[in-house]
Amino acid sequence: MFFKDSPHFRTLLRPLMAVGLAILVTIPLWRIRDALTLANFSLIYLLLTLVIAIWLGTVPSLMAAFVSFFCFNFFLIKPYYTLTVADPRELLDLFIFLLVALITGQLAAYARRQAEVARHRASEQNILYELSSAFNRLNEREDIYRTLQNVVQENLPVVTCTVQASHETAPPDVDQTTIYLLIGMNEQVYGTLRANFSAQPVEAQRRFLMACVVQAAMALQRIELAEDVQRSRAIEEADRLKTTLLHAVSHDLRTPITIIKTAASNLQSLREQMSPVEKQEIAQVIEQEADTLNRLVGNLLDMSRLQAGALKLHEDWTAVSEIAGDVAAQAWQRHQSTRIRLDFPDDMPLVRCDQGLMLQALGNITNNALRYEPPESQVEIRGAFDEQEVQLVVVNHGATILPEEKTHIMEPFYRGGDGQIGLGLAISQGIVAAHKGRIRVEDTPGGGATFIIILPRSPMEGQTDADIDRG
């Protein structure tokens, strides 16, 4: 409770305490007044005034000085119980005592005030220090506003304190007890603070409030700068991607276009000299290259959609074994032989995902695994699950991926050993990440790479098998 001192204690109780103490000290002195000299009395009362000045402040020390002067005169100097003094030298002593008591009292009280101010300052510094380190740990604007509000409410005698992120600049109807401050730095306004004090705030309270607000503004500026940095990093990343994209477009897209164009113009100009078999071959080439082009364009579109965060998920409860089945069937269509081994537990749970996109993600990873699979073995697609996650494990038995390659393998446009542009794995990565999942790459025991798609399990809205068996 800094700055929150009861005013009544200061104005009434303290002077009363000073008077009481002066009387209390007089009683034993009065009992032994014959054994002591005038000098003893003056020094004892001076000491009392000094102590009261240091302990209780200016007004109580003044009171103590005057009461001491009275008691001294009335009870301790002959003739007793009168305010007259027999010896004029004693009268001089008495007035010098009063003067000294008043001066030392004032000096001591001043020293006390200074000490109090210093203590307040130190405590203020301490609170501000703690505040600034607290602000440094916070990364949300809302938390900063809340912390500022709490600090003001705890340390200042305010009735209400509201901190808002609004940017209004004109202070509305401010009276003597209300302080309205803009939380801002370098003409940038991050919010406003309105503190309603119980009484008109003193300078120190104002100053403390301002200091808190400055700390908050600095913290808010720091958050803004951090966000700026992140934004510009994202822009840089997009730029880098655009450059690689241009390279990819110029090479990997132009190749099939060139082939198609050449084939079509050959067909046009040489069709009379061509045998039907040759024409058929050329037509096949055109179709193949169009497929390649279609796949590439699709991948590029998907990649840019993922990068732009424009991918819309149509999530539904999905059996991942169904997806793996499609991937396996596609592989059979392409190779006309069983190149994949499926292994899914009977109680494999359903997962909420976009089936089409997940098919693409698993398909890309599996095709990549098939490309490096020795002809005598098969790629395995396994399902596994625990309480939190569902795993799709794609096991390849080819060469083990080098550690430095592992870190790049998921990056877009990374060219593997065969020089093909790698968009597939990056797209898989993006799709899985969009489902709040992740892909892990491990070494297959005995050689090869194992890719693990890990998806979070979402709770099924309480339905049982009984529920499914016809309502």
């Binding site: 699709g298 539904d316 089945g325 592989a331 059979w332 499926l342 089409g356 499914i468 068996d469």
Partner: protein, 230 residues
Amino acid sequence: MLILIVDDEPQIRKLLQTGLIGHGYEVVTAADGVEALTAVRQHHPDLLVLDIALGSGPDGLDVCQRLRQWSQVPIIMLSVHGDERSKVQALNAGADDYLTKPFSMKELQARIQAVLRRVAMEPATTPTATIVVGDLKIDLAKHLVTLAGEEVHFTPIEYDILCLLATHPGQIMTHRTILSKVWGADYADMTHYVRIYINQIRKKLQEDPAANVRYILNEPGIGYRFVDIA
């Protein structure tokens, strides 16, 4: 056989026309939805090849919905990759099949044949028929399913789903269709029911997609399709 091609791209219209005429069909074309509706009234085509995106005016989905109010002409929708929503809408609106662009002439030709064959044999799929695909034999009259001569036991719901799919070979059944036909219209949104049951049916049918043994095919995000018994 008269086929109406509806596509807003003149080049695609021309190529499809050439291709289909080459395969022995008669072809009329329309460039937008309004033209398409007029053409159906004028020419009474046997089948429509209808692009979902049609530039201005009513799109393929609208055309499909409007046609279904008075015509049962078979419709094959054309769409671009990734537009599952429109495909489901088109199928629910009464389209018979869809094809994703780009496709080969061979694929389109196969789909057209399959749809026309289904339309022709529709009255034949009475409950007395027996369906045979590879090792699988479904005796609809006796409610008996055998796999390579061995009887396979299904629960009533599993059997209903299998029958629904098997009596519509090659035809896409959306999740919604399966749910409302097997469980009732109130269950139309509970797609996970279908997945759990299809999974069980597949196990009992001993499907092995890695070895190309499949009876029920997935249409990701749309539904299922029983293999075409061509």
